[in-house]
Symmetry: C2
Subunit: 341 residues, 2 copies
DNA sequence: TTGTAAGCGTTATCAA
DNA sequence: TTGATAACGCTTACAA
């Protein structure tokens, strides 16, 4: 229990095993077949004796391989991000990498800071979870010379590996469900579209289906996520305009769904009876929210896992053109989009 | 955009600035006052020119200070853990440390793995978020010789810095609220108590208040978090036994509150009218859950922040006896514990 | 099969 | 005020 006990070094082990550093190094790096049984044995016990663990710092310095991956997250409080992270983390474990976690808290200068930091720790690759990230922040990332994989969202005019949901398909899927459930008017609520491809694609899926049903009304509106009053106004207006008609709200992501649910609460509107409600992203409270909310669940963990695998491919030298990897979502039907009785 | 551009080293900078490495090093380490203005200027431009960033690997190797902190989390999907993490991360940023994140996923051997890993990266300290961690896993941690701070929970028979909620006070606070709201019987639902001090302390607070109200019934029960059927049985039995009486369920933590809410749903019981419901830990859906759920909110971010500050104190040599740092919770009253009309 | 020595990019020591 | 030079703990030619 000696707190000051300096860590044993490879030299210590060599000395204890009565041999040179080289042999110890060989032992550590799986070249055990070149060692005599007796030497191997001596080294093994010396290592155990001294509780020796090689310094990754020294290793990284020498070989240039740190086995470190940087993870940049814009908003760690977003449940979607956390699940993705969990998938990334699992993949890291499986592949022998370690995560340096960087939460930019959606501050653009923090991102710059972390990019420098990661580079100074010589991470071998970077995964960027762009969920909730501002557009300006995204474009900064182009500077990085390291292998990089984006999650969820592309950077406009920058070619880079991306892993995420098949947004267009998902948009079609959810809209079709609402059509099937006989909603006559559907309001697509999104955060400002900007250049965010995921929002555009989901919306596109929506319009693709709506175009096939000219009798139904397709409405759309952009709201800021931190403007509850604005949201209240939008929803109030929409429902009043559609009084007596079977209408539904389709929300572009989970964070916004939470806001919409709160707003409906404030307005005294009950989803499932007063209007339909469907949101992208599964939330753990979906089924508890008064009446359960129908959601489109993304295979989040798998997305994270695949993203990491892709970075590693790049690290290992794969230089095929940047690719886009999309996964299908799963519609989880609850009572907020109940069929007409 | 040359992908192969090797990173500039301190020697490159020295050469470009027409000086020696020592001066560059001095420049980097804030000993700028010893440098002549002209030299300082040359170095500055050289650094900018080459986009030089010192290698933390080499630094760590040389100085033994890596500015790395290890974070061990048992369950990254727990919202409480995430918020705490967010606080830790903020503190890291403020203090110039970087987080190595390790999610053990509640597997004991993973913990061992990560402990070794952190040590091999020569982290300077470790923060353990014990929330949701199994008891056996906790006791493993004693091995670590590094400065270590525990969050939320103590290790039995092991003296170590701990940061968390004032559990006893919180237990009193919530129980008193239920008493004030005139509930005649209260069921304290907890995960198996084991040696988990937080559960014991919260329960103790409960009994402290209940003892002052002998006319009320104080019930308690231990349930496994992954046994919905068992939970259903417990809650059904309890409510039937107390039919016609004003009764409430008090849940020991947020994860379990989610399970209890689901169970009540299955049983067709509505909190706020059929019975009272109060849970430790604030959850972002608390207010949306049919009737809003009254919760005891922990200052999670602050807990994380303080934990990191404490580790750093230790890293910087503070060797006062291990201390326990507790924070007060905040009761957020919603309709699930409505007063009698 | 084993060992010696050079060097990865820093910082610390010492001398100029 | 500056700059060689020797470590830090490891891997990797190269030698033996």
């Amino acid at each position: 229990m000696n707190r000051k006990a300096a860590r044993a070094t490879i030299s210590d082990v060599a000395r204890a095993a009565n041999t040179g550093k080289t042999s110890v190094s060989r032992f550590l790096n799986g070249e055990q077949h070149v060692l005599s049984a007796s030497l191997r044995q001596r080294i093994e016990t010396a290592i155990a004796e001294l509780d020796y663990r090689p310094s990754q710092m020294a290793r990284g310095l020498k070989r240039g391989r740190t086995r470190l991956i940087g993870l940049i997250i814009a908003d760690i409080t977003n449940p979607y991000s956390v699940e993705v992270m969990s998938g990334i983390e699992a993949a890291c474990r499986a592949q022998g990498f370690t995560l340096l976690m960087c939460n930019t808290n959606n501050e653009v200068d923090q991102e710059q800071h972390y990019l420098n930091l990661l580079s100074s720790y010589q991470v071998e690759g970077i995964v960027v979870n762009a969920v909730g990230m501002r557009e300006e922040a995204l474009s900064h990332l182009q500077q990085s010379l390291l292998p990089m994989v984006l999650i969820d969202r592309k950077i406009p005019d920058f070619s880079c590996d991306v892993v995420g949901l098949d947004n267009r398909e998902a948009g079609i899927q959810v809209t079709q469900h609402l059509i099937d459930r006989d909603f006559q008017s559907i309001l697509f609520v999104t955060e400002p579209l900007g250049l965010v491809n995921t929002r555009h694609e989901r919306l596109e899926g929506f319009h693709t289906v709506m175009a096939q049903h000219p009798a139904r009304e397709a409405a759309q509106v952009e709201v800021a996520i931190n403007d509850p009053a604005g949201l209240d106004a939008v929803l109030k207006d929409y429902t009043q305009r559609n009084a007596g008609r079977r209408c539904a709200v389709l929300v572009v992501n989970g964070a916004l769904t939470l806001q919409v649910a709160r707003s409906l609460r404030r307005l005294g509107l009950t989803w499932g009876s007063d209007l339909g409600l469907l949101g992208f992203d599964e939330l753990d409270w979906s089924e508890l929210a008064g009446v359960g909310i129908t959601t489109l669940k993304q295979p989040t963990r798998q997305i994270g896992y695949s993203a990491l695998e892709q970075v590693i491919k790049r690290i290992e030298g794969d230089d095929t053109p940047p690719q886009e990897q999309v996964f299908s979502g799963e519609l989880i039907v609850r009572k907020s989009t109940m069929a007409v009785e």
